[in-house]
Symmetry: C2
Subunit: 224 residues, 2 copies
């Protein structure tokens, strides 16, 4: 009997909190659970960690299973391990959140997995501790957003300043002053104005901006 074998093994899963920004609201992907226990309940999308993959790899695999996308921005939320959090068996789950541009997520894949975008401020009651996972993910994501330029993962490559501001307002749940917001943006050289104009949301049109990763790495000063 080895040192290890006197201890119990458990199942370990990953659960994905996928944030998207649409219609001026922060959303999260949820679906109806396909298996027992809890079949039919609203739930996050998850999967088990295999014997030969890291937990980060398991999360990335699960994310790409659901979205068809790779190399998503993804961060660990933490481990959830109440004894009876899963009504079937003892399963410890590690939550991850990911940020995607909703436009990159096709309707086809969405329907295939039967998931929906739900407003984070108006969520139904979810399976097990999934509401708690989302709460914690949101808290972490919010903090990160002020300190690192990660919000861009929720937007198209080209975006207007109004879109960017709306994103920050949706995540913080409070309005921002337009002039003060734009003043700050102007100080960050890695948020580049292009000559392109977006006319989808106004007659006049708004300049499109782009986040320049390279130039951010040269002078990573971000604060919003």
């Amino acid at each position: 009997m080895t040192y290890y074998s006197q201890h119990a093994k458990v199942w370990v899963s990953v659960d994905c909190i996928i944030f998207g920004f649409d219609e001026g609201k922060l959303k999260v992907l949820i679906g109806r659970r396909q298996m027992d226990p809890g079949r039919g309940e609203w739930s996050l999308y998850g999967g088990f960690v295999a014997a030969d993959e890291s937990i980060d790899d398991a999360a990335a695999r699960t994310l790409s299973e659901l979205t068809g996308l790779r190399n998503l921005y993804m961060r660990q939320v933490g481990a959830f391990g109440s004894v009876d959090r899963d009504p079937g068996e003892r399963v410890i789950s590690i939550a991850y959140y990911a940020l995607i541009n909703v436009k990159d997520y096709g309707e086809r894949q969405r329907l295939e997995h039967g998931v929906e975008w739900a407003d984070v401020n108006n969520l139904p009651s979810l399976y097990s501790d999934h509401n708690e996972m989302i709460r914690k993910a949101l808290k972490l994501m919010r903090q990160k957003l002020h300190v690192e330029p990660v919000g861009f993962h929720l937007l198209p490559n080209l975006f207007t300043l109004t879109q960017l501001q709306n994103l920050y307002e949706a995540v913080n749940g409070e309005e921002l002053d337009k002039r003060n917001f734009r003043k700050r943006i102007k100080e960050m050289d890695f948020i580049e104005k292009t000559e392109l104009i977006d006319k989808t949301s106004s007659k006049r049109g708004a300049f499109l901006y782009r986040f320049n990763h390279r130039s951010y790495n040269e002078d990573p000063n971000f604060k919003l």
Copy 2:
């Protein structure tokens, strides 16, 4: 075959990063690993999660095994799950950090478990991914310290303002202005001045202060 049983089970452990503040430095408890693989290497203190205990309970149990103390301030750092992080078997580990007042930790227990206080700024190379765990714990703890009154867990119940300032300087790794620091403290009514005087570190003596939990809960405004 149930839905669960087609997946692999793994061992799950907890590792404890125990911070203490002594001799003006932030320290962490490390010991020589007692078992194979890695016997003799510097390591955090850890333990396995049992089938019938939550991960938080496992961490609390492990902490109390090592220190003899209960109800320590403790927070999860996150899950560490590279496939080969443990050279023996697949083990996913969940790191927790705890804050203790070094005076509460007797020499007896310390010697019994053969652990030592190591300066966080001068750590040896540790077993597996334990250095990374400490790095992440320190980052989280640092953030927390600015926003919640948790530093008091690293001090005796009664402390001088110089001690408190030294603690913040040690954690941040930078000096603070004495007058500005004390000005801020004065604004926080839950940091109460007592009539007691500590003469251990100066001839004149310094007033002892106390953190009042109750009054903090009434008006929880903390920022340092």
